[in-house]
Symmetry: C2
Subunit: 154 residues, 2 copies
């Protein structure tokens, strides 16, 4: 998996958080997941499947970051991670993947998106079962870090 | 979503746990998820996408159940939920969906499978962001309960 698969997800998430939540997300260096694990409190996951490639995306937020983003999106302070936050993370995951899908489609890669799943729970760990590489991209915001994990099998 | 979409997943999981882990899993009555939530310690998730339908499957185990299943599959006692258990749950999720995919294909429903993701973390809650119904099937085993959540959009 090369940079042309990663960049569409980077672009899509920075764009969506900027437009929807007026939040600047600064991407760190993407690394291959080996000992690195994404740990957080809310995760959105979506599968992608097509003839050429299949994959999965997970966006894992820590509580302070998602409370900030939710507050920006709703226009009022949010102080608890509950099911409505889970729904919002599902929606963000869907939009990020939709944006990346359009960009990848321009590069000739076609896939269909599955239905997003969200996980709520303090300090959970996300991993992927894949024969391909897993790339983790750390993001920094003014309210803390979050992690995007992408894997694709060709 | 009707019973012809649910039964292939029921059959597939009882078959796989019986063959791979000599574990009898008794399916309870499938219910529509409304206030019901699947809560557990290890979850395997996989997306499904195709022209006719897209969906997502989550299998959520409590710790005692997955330790028992892992012990049966490995032929030795397992006393900790770690990344290798996560891998095993990813593999079970993949096999269950592969089995259901074959059965659904005989009924004329085609989809591609995404890559499984697993979550480790005490007492996490799983939910799906979908416009379609979400069905939860509780399963009972001699070592405790687990939950299968299926959603499909047509």
């Amino acid at each position: 998996m090369n940079v042309e698969f990663i960049n569409p997800f980077l672009k899509s998430i920075t764009n969506i958080l900027s437009v929807m939540a007026q939040t600047e997300a600064r991407a760190g260096r993407p690394v291959k997941k080996e000992d690195n694990v994404a740990m957080g409190d809310v995760t959105g996951i979506i599968g992608m499947a097509g003839q050429q490639a299949k994959g999965s995306l997970a966006i894992t937020f820590t509580e302070p970051v998602i409370l900030h983003i939710a507050g920006q999106m709703l226009g009022e302070e949010v102080d608890e991670v509950d099911e409505s936050i889970g729904d919002m993370v599902g929606e963000i995951t869907n939009m990020v993947t939709g944006g990346a899908k359009r960009l990848l489609s321009e590069q000739g890669y076609k896939f269909d998106m599955a239905v997003p799943t969200t996980i709520l729970g303090k300090n959970h760990i996300v991993s992927h079962k894949t024969s391909g590489p897993i790339i983790i991209i750390p993001f920094d915001t003014d309210s803390g870090k979050f992690f995007v994990e992408v894997c694709f099998e060709m």
